[in-house]
């Protein structure tokens, strides 16, 4: 497979915050349709890494290509990549001054110039997919955390992205709401979406991931299929992390 056929290709990428070396020589290739779960202790750089993929963070060296487009200072490239890559955040980040429906149609109308009627029809389709169409006219502040996160997923899907990034999508949720969000993510995965998920939900990783990546101190320490990753981790740091996460 040539590089431009990959969904995401990261090679020898480094990122510094001042003198702090946040990401060290990251190499990662994600094929179309692949589901990658990234885990690791807090501060290990996993969020920073996926935020580099759509330029919410700027990398200092190395090469990032998304869908064959090089991510560099070219604003046109950045815009093109952001149009094709959706992102779901830990804190949902819905626009509080707009209704759920307005949240969903805003980007398609502004960025893709989709006519309103068409954008609304598509939005309702995706809201049905995340099982929340009856809330379309409400404001985000009137929804529960789990509902808000499902709306956020629908909002991203409205741009018809080819790659979805999830940055700890269930970490800010009350325990009883986690499964409703994970269910939506599982169904998205079964539709063949390319997904890169930073998450601590090991059950989700086992069910859905093609590959699990473990990061620590800014490095990718271990990459394996979920079966191997959970039953026979090679690296000492991975074993330690897994015993802490799975231990209770």
């Amino acid at each position: 497979m040539t590089r431009s056929d990959l969904a995401v290709s990261i090679a020898a990428m480094n990122k510094y915050y001042g003198n702090f070396h946040a990401l060290k020589d990251i190499d990662l290739r994600v094929e179309p349709g692949e589901k990658v779960v990234v885990c690791g202790p807090s501060g290990s750089g996993k969020s920073t890494m996926i935020r580099c993929i759509n330029r919410l963070e700027e990398h200092n060296s190395g090469l990032i290509e998304v869908l064959g487009i090089e991510l560099n200072d070219d604003v046109g490239n950045i815009d093109e990549i952001r149009r094709e890559v959706g992102m779901v955040f830990q804190h949902f980040n819905l626009f509080p001054h707009m209704t759920v429906l307005e949240n969903c149609v805003l980007a398609p109308m502004l960025v893709r110039k989709t006519p309103r009627a068409q954008a609304e029809a598509a939005a309702m389709r995706y809201l049905e997919k995340v099982r929340i169409p009856e809330q379309a006219q409400k404001y985000p502040g009137q929804l529960s955390g789990g509902q808000q996160q499902r709306v956020a997923i629908a909002r991203s899907l409205c741009m018809e992205p080819k790659v979805m990034l999830f940055d700890e999508p269930t970490s800010a949720l009350d325990p009883e709401m986690i499964s409703e969000v994970l269910d939506v993510m599982v169904s998205l995965a079964s539709d063949g979406m390319t997904m890169i998920c930073v998450t601590h939900e090991m059950g989700f990783a086992r069910r859905v991931a093609d590959r699990v990546i473990f990061m620590d101190r800014g490095e990718i320490v271990e990459t394996a299929d979920p079966e191997t990753f959970f039953s026979a981790p090679k690296n000492e740091r991975t074993r330690q992390f897994l015993s802490q996460v799975m231990g209770h």
């Binding site: 759509n54 330029r55 952001r82 626009f95 509080p96 001054h97 956020a152």
Partner: protein, 363 residues
Amino acid sequence: MTDTSPKRTIANTPPGWFDNVRRRYFPTPIQSVISILGLGLLGWILWTLLNWAVFSAVWDGQASPETCRAAAGACWTVIAQRWRIILFGLYPFDQQWRSALACVVVVAMVVLSCVPAFWAGRRLAAVWVLGTGLFYLLMKGGLLGLPLIGEEKWGGLALTLFIFVATCLIGFPLSIVLALLRRSELPVISKGIGLFIDAVRSLPLLSILFAFAVVVPFMLPGWLQTGKLYRVICGAALFFAAYQAEIIRGGMQGVALGQDEAAKSLGIGYWHRISRIILPQAMRNALPATINQFVISFKETSLVIVVGFFEILASGNAAYGTGDWTFAYREVYAFIALIYFVFVFSLSRYGAYLERRMAVGTF
């Protein structure tokens, strides 16, 4: 335990107004005394004011200054005799209907642009272009058989309203530009604009008005040296913008960083992120302070008197200052205060309405 015990029944009855008054104002003897004294003082002030303004006042529009001076109360004759000077200043007497109509146009323009149904770019632009054009045609004339009347003759309420509206119309967009530049990622721009804002804010408005009226003309080419009124308005707008920029910047800081990131991740460009995501939320945060700034600016229009413009307060001075009515300054100032109150109070009420309206969808 049953619900029918007498104690329970009493506790569940809402207290009547009489009980409420007794409990709040007369709970102990000392507090009762304080309440009665306070009430007495309030009654006395109210009575004195009413007596001066209504009962002992002279209401006859044709009364002579001598009758008026002899009366115990207010002399409203001066308003009847001199209201046209107060409202229109030096504007030629037989043309003053134009000035009055111009005031109506400005007020209508402001009221229309305060109605949510007009909050669309094209409608708002139409209201402003039409309103400003009509105001100009009426005030300045020189067209359609209306005699030309220069800005130096403008005065009174029309001038006050014109200076205020023009200041806000120039100053508000400028304040948004300044606030955005202040947040620029380029240190040269953000620091430079920060320095500029701080510099303007550390000068008194009076000195800025003076500078724009008197000093700036020396630095301009000859054809720009006329139009003192417009230079003064530019000075006032700059001052307004410096303060309002910091208010808007404060509002922007209250918008979570994640909002901008979410918009970026959806591929939304800079201008749309600012206009659709950041600014609407920032303005909601900044609304109380913004209304405050508008109120202050309205009252600060009276400072243009120092560079020789007869806005409403200066026209009031002229109304009692000449001839027979020099003793009647209280009545003139009370009348002007009432006019200020009507405008500023409406502004505050409108602010309160906006706050209620914008509260929709808040967390």
